[in-house]
Symmetry: C2
Subunit: 421 residues, 2 copies
């Protein structure tokens, strides 16, 4: 099933930022690399929210993994889901059969964390994959269509939207929905013009973008308010039954859509020893990203927990950590071949950014923080340059230009109507 090779085999589980970067760094190097992902494409997750809000088509932010590895004869891609890993027998069970490894790198990323709140888990929409983003896009539009023909008593629930969690994803979704409401809905749905379409953002902590600087948080909150988003800070989403969201302060919001962006955890496969799993479902690794106690198994990125004195809670679950860890692991594999000793991971934090809307973004760099128009351009530039492939960069750039000048969100199509399971 996997071509036989005289080289040692590195199986990489997951083609996200970390897994793809690692496989790229090992192209045409003296290892056989088997990259496994359940999709045949890499997803540029930071722009999923634009797919969910009709700004971009999914094809612009997804890139065929096979294309990344054209001409790299030592890299084998397999589209499969990993069911179980066996660190001792050194193999992984997948939907296409068992694959043996010499080295395994777990780069499975993160999953939604509902903190055992089953009503939310069952009824909220999430934004971790292209199809989840398309489901949100469909449902937002389906609700508007339904609102046109609904009885008055049912209508408000179809017009309210609750975003739970005001991290970057939550803020970006809420902002983009607010712009959709302002620029698209009045033209598309003139019959809804005089009705209140309320967008709430609910955040348990006392500020939005809590991981960023206070100044950025303040500005982001201001931007959200300017766009007419209703922020509810210091409040949690207690329950959501598909019709009514109940907040921890007792507020009741009738709504047919809750977008959950209030928690992530490591995405584990079966077979990972409990002894190395930390509370956030992340796998404990040493400073070489090796899973504690298993020299030949690595974990990186969101699913890895590398704690140190400076960083007792591990590194943030963001793409740059995964990519830098991938680069380190690749280097160490090559050093290993040369009999050199492994190098330890050091994170270079380039800063962080988030966008709320048109001309409204916030940027924290190590020594400076800025907000507004210039931050928005910086945000666009960084994201454009980070996209995989020239075609995707071009398509996203044209779409952004188009949206900027037309105030339009072109992709408001319900291609596959969302049906609740």
């Amino acid at each position: 099933m996997i071509p036989v090779s005289p080289l040692k085999r590195i199986v990489i589980a997951g083609g996200g930022f970390g897994g793809m970067a690692l496989a790229k760094a090992l192209r045409n190097k003296p290892y056989q690399v088997v990259l496994i992902d359940k999709n045949n494409y890499h997803t540029f997750q930071p722009l999923l929210y634009q797919v969910a809000t009709g700004g971009l088509e999914p094809d612009s932010i997804a890139f065929p993994l096979r294309k990344v590895f054209h001409g790299a004869e030592n890299v084998v891609f397999r589209m499969a889901e990993i069911i179980n890993v066996d660190f001792d027998k050194k193999n992984v069970d997948t939907t296409i059969g068992t694959i043996a490894f010499d080295f395994l790198v777990l780069a499975t990323g993160s999953a939604n964390n509902f903190f055992n709140n089953t009503s939310v888990a069952e009824n909220a929409m999430t934004l971790k994959s292209v199809s989840e983003a398309l489901n949100i896009r469909s449902l937002v539009l389906q609700n508007l269509e339904a609102a046109l023909v609904a009885d008055e008593k049912d209508r408000q629930a179809l017009l309210n939207i609750v975003v739970a969690g005001a991290g970057p994803t939550g803020v970006e979704v809420a902002g983009a929905l607010a712009e959709l409401r302002r620029h698209v809905i009045p033209n598309d749905y003139p019959e809804l013009k005089n009705l209140a379409i309320n967008i709430y953002i609910v955040e348990a902590s006392e500020r939005v973008l809590a991981s960023m600087s206070e100044k950025s948080s303040e500005k982001a909150l201001l931007f959200l308010k300017k766009l007419g988003v209703i922020p509810r800070l210091n409040v949690k989403l207690d329950s959501y039954d598909g019709n009514t969201a109940v907040l921890s302060d007792g507020t009741i919001i009738p709504t047919k859509i809750v977008v959950w962006s209030a928690g992530v955890k490591g995405k584990l496969t079966g077979g990972i020893p409990e002894s190395v799993i930390t509370p956030g479902s992340r796998i404990e690794v040493n400073s070489f990203c090796q899973v504690k106690g298993f020299d030949s198994v690595y974990a990186l990125g969101d699913v890895a927990m590398l704690s140190s004195k400076e960083n007792p809670k591990g590194f943030p679950m963001v793409a740059p950590v995964a990519i830098q860890q991938a680069d380190l692991i690749a280097k160490n594999f090559l050093r290993m071949k040369e009999g050199k000793e492994l190098k330890a991971f050091h994170y270079f934090d380039k800063g962080s950014m988030a966008t709320v809307g048109r001309n409204k973004a916030v940027v924290d760099l190590p020594f400076i923080s800025f907000q507004g128009l210039f931050a928005w351009f910086a945000w666009m530039f960084v994201h454009l340059m980070s996209l995989v492939g020239f075609r995707n960069k071009l398509m996203v750039f044209i779409n952004w230009l188009w949206s900027y000048f037309s105030y339009d969100r072109a992709v408001r199509l319900i291609i596959r109507p969302y049906k609740k399971k």
Copy 2:
């Protein structure tokens, strides 16, 4: 559910070429127009085959219907499916309730016709909608992924593709698949390089593109052969159980994908009197496109059968007929208002065209027929200009330029894996 209006109400069933053109022609005219479609977008069907073969994203060939009618206060769009029509009570039952009409225009288009062949109906893929096109795209790619890990005995069925029917859709699909095989598969799937990926096109008549000139048919056949498509003329697909296609001459082709483009019929709703339904499920109309015996009900395009001495079998089921009939009906509605008598339909046949691949198209105009590179440019120009909206034109144009110079089909993503029901 529909705003009350002092104007007479025209309900248009279907937002395809005909229905959309009619509603556009009636913008800001003294009628209330209620346009109903099960999708919130218009589909540019002639390019669906490019979605099915990874050349275009669906969003480039679909256009939000609501956007077409910005500012047209007399046009109401409703996303709904029509279940039943009642010509006498003058109302239509839909998934969102019953809607009364003064005039009804049936513009429901066409459906796949399997001529009662249930094995084919159950197992073949079709290409009448965006989601069907996406299913074909997914399945073609899923089969290639599966072929990599299949046992030798199962592999050939995953690599063979059968296209049934060599009308424009069949020829275009087969040609595009052949180009995908030539330019993309060797790079994406080097492990399949030495295996035969066979693309068959099966046609019951003695030539491909039988509705076009003999010269165009000949050339199209030559183009298909040049691309390595295996044509099987004078042969029908007798059965297909999901694994094996059996042709009328006894040929057995193991295949996991059959694309059915060998038959269409009118797409009817419930409640249409049997007396006006002709054998191809089309509705008999008079020269004003009024359904025989019902002055206030019209049918146009694929679902209408307007037969005359010159045209005993009715007009071809193509977009220009639907659009010209829509224009006539709109004019007649306005003449009616002015007390003038209705005008009869006259079809202006501008010709027809089909493309097989890069630099390979055929064009029949009323007095001239040409094939090859110039025909291909003509085909592209006409299709580009016919697309709705500047953004879609731009996106398709850039994609075509990109594909032309890179030989790539960028959109080879399995966003929603196809699962057999």
